[in-house]
Symmetry: none
Subunit: 215 residues, 4 copies
DNA sequence: TATGAATGAGCCTTCATTCAT
DNA sequence: GATGAATGAAGGCTCATTCAT
């Protein structure tokens, strides 16, 4: 089970490409082997079984993503800068690894049991990052004080994911990273006008803690 | 191939329950037959093949969702009301049909080729709905004028999906529909403070049309 | 998992024939299916897996053998009659089921883990039968009193098995059951002459109980 | 294909140990290589293929057994002594080489085609040894004159094998060689009493030659 | 000589689909 | 219409064997 060799990378990359095209469950070892230019049996010298390929991918992806995201946030001075950096890093990473992006977005729900752990880590990391940004912004006075971070995380994460998914399903022909700026603008300002927002309740929810506890 | 009979519904419902638990690719006709209380062969009297079950589900779901969403929007007076009604209808529907929600959210990416058409319709419908709301809000002066509707649609759709996914993965133990209000608040107001937003560019993107064209 | 149907028997019989020719481990499901005239998949409607075929065979065999042997012994009046009946029943049964005999004799040692339980039962039954005969003979005064039944069982069982094995490996061209009489004669009289036996120690072993305890 | 080197022995010994634990068919070259502390490929420098390992083992075993058995018999003065020496040598040898014993006993039937030749030699040698002993005993007047040597060989060989098998399957925890004496006693005297044997026919079989010819 | 990475044929098993009843 | 036994193609995985180093 030699890992971190050239052939390991070669197979992993090929596998992700195949998974991206046919989905994990519909992909076969033979297809991966062919894509990687090795024999079927060779795959089992580097991966325990088919599931293991996906797990390895998620673990690596989680690590890479985590590093990139924290770097991005740390490089920002103001909360808004940090948010922008985060979104931009997210979009740029997935744009540079479109197959990885497709697999990551697609299999997360279906192979939940398999990749639960990396996904949980990723989710927690994302929440921590958002928490950091919100805290900073609240100190600066640029971010509202009455926010449930869990929901903000889902707002941002969900919107970014959807932008990525649209990019994937429309043939990846526009510049994904360029969406960072308008996205951040929407996150910060919302879609309402200042005057219109007077009528919008500041959502005095009863069970703030309960909701916050969810994620 | 009689559709719209009791047995048809019985099988479709059973299939969705099974798909929700094991994923489409990992579900077998036998499991569905057992869950539905019919023989394996009977399924082929109502569905062309396994794929057809999923396609039928997506088509029905799309139709139902479409009706509900337009109803919801039409019932709102102001743009904000309409948006709230839309989000609430979305969350409430998926809360009342958790298995359908799981399948819908999970298989959309993976079975893309299979369900492309209903998904496109759904996406277009969602965009139309959002367009209507935004138009109305802009007339009212409650929604900003400088918005790219495609991106707003992805913001809202993505955030709602993420809220639903979190609900699914945390055991469906909190009230999903109750998230409508805080979500709408975030969409309208954003997470920034009025004063802080002075420094945020109104995103004078060059390629508005290009981006808008995407979805 | 329908058992006791015609097709079940058909497959089991075919499997034993194949196992007899190539050995269990070297036999393939496809070979069995072909021999039985069914599709590969059909086998799995009647057997859990390949191992299960062998286990089923051993369980059935053990039951049949057990019944036949007790019947045979019960039909004998004197101990010598009973022993003859036992040996004859054993040889006749295996002669009538040569493939079963080959598999039974051949796989017992190698698939020990798999068929441990039926083999233990069979071994215990054999020992019980021998015990019964020896007891009866000792009462009659026709069987020596200084015997360790466990060893007698191994003597008889081993000799009969070897006779069967020789029959198998020499092409099954002589009458196996006819060997019962000379075999019993050897068991009873031994190979020595009455006068020569004066010099043979009656084996006053120290640890009779210990040895007896073995089987 | 250098044979008789240290490494050759090392691999052969390891192979027998592995075969004893998992059976020949279930053992892999990798397991043997690991047990022997060499690389997989190295095995093919000393053995033609996997089958060849078993064949080599049987050939060596046959030679060793043959030498030991003849030595044992030659060392005996009377026929009974010789028989005792033979049985004792057999049991002692297998007790000292339990893995060899397990493999020898277990694979003989299953790998018949593979090891037919050594087995035939072994069987012939055993028959020759028994013939010698019987001849000598008949001259001495200590062995009955009306014996079919082939059957006597099967009686003795089968009983000894069964004793060995029982020893193997009961965890090899009793002294195998010590069974020689009671076994010989049973062979010589039989299990009947002198008086009871009056009624036992001296088996005047018609087809003595036919039966004798078998092995 | 020795190694062990690579190969690919072959096996067990699953399961969508068919069809005789 | 309804059944479920039967099919057989296809997939994951193993492992004996080879060969470049």
């Amino acid at each position: 089970m030699k890992r971190n060799t050239d052939k390991y990378q070669q197979i992993l990359t090929a596998a992700i490409r195949v998974f991206a095209h046919r989905g994990f469950s519909q992909s076969t070892i033979s297809q991966i082997a062919q894509e990687a230019g090795v024999a079927d049996g060779t795959i089992y010298l580097y991966f325990k079984n088919k599931d293991d390929i996906l797990v390895q991918f998620y673990e690596r992806m989680t690590e890479i993503v985590s590093n990139r995201f924290w770097e991005a946030v740390n490089a920002g001075k103001t909360a808004v800068d940090q948010l922008y950096n985060l979104i931009h890093a997210h979009l740029a990473l997935f744009q540079s690894e479109p197959f990885g992006a497709i697999v990551y977005q697609g299999e997360t729900h279906l192979q939940w049991r398999l990749v639960q752990e990396p996904i949980r880590q990723m989710s927690k990391m994302y929440r921590d990052v958002i928490t950091r940004i919100v805290d900073q912004g609240q100190k600066e006075g640029t971010i509202r004080g009455d926010l449930y971070v869990g929901l903000v995380k889902r707002l941002i994460n969900g919107a970014v994911d959807e932008v990525i998914n649209t990019w994937i399903h429309t043939g990846r022909d526009h510049d994904l990273a360029a969406m960072a700026e308008p996205l951040v603008n929407l996150f910060i300002q919302g879609i309402g006008t200042p005057q219109g927002q007077k009528g919008v309740s500041p959502t005095p929810l009863k069970s703030i803690n309960e909701i916050n506890a969810v994620t």
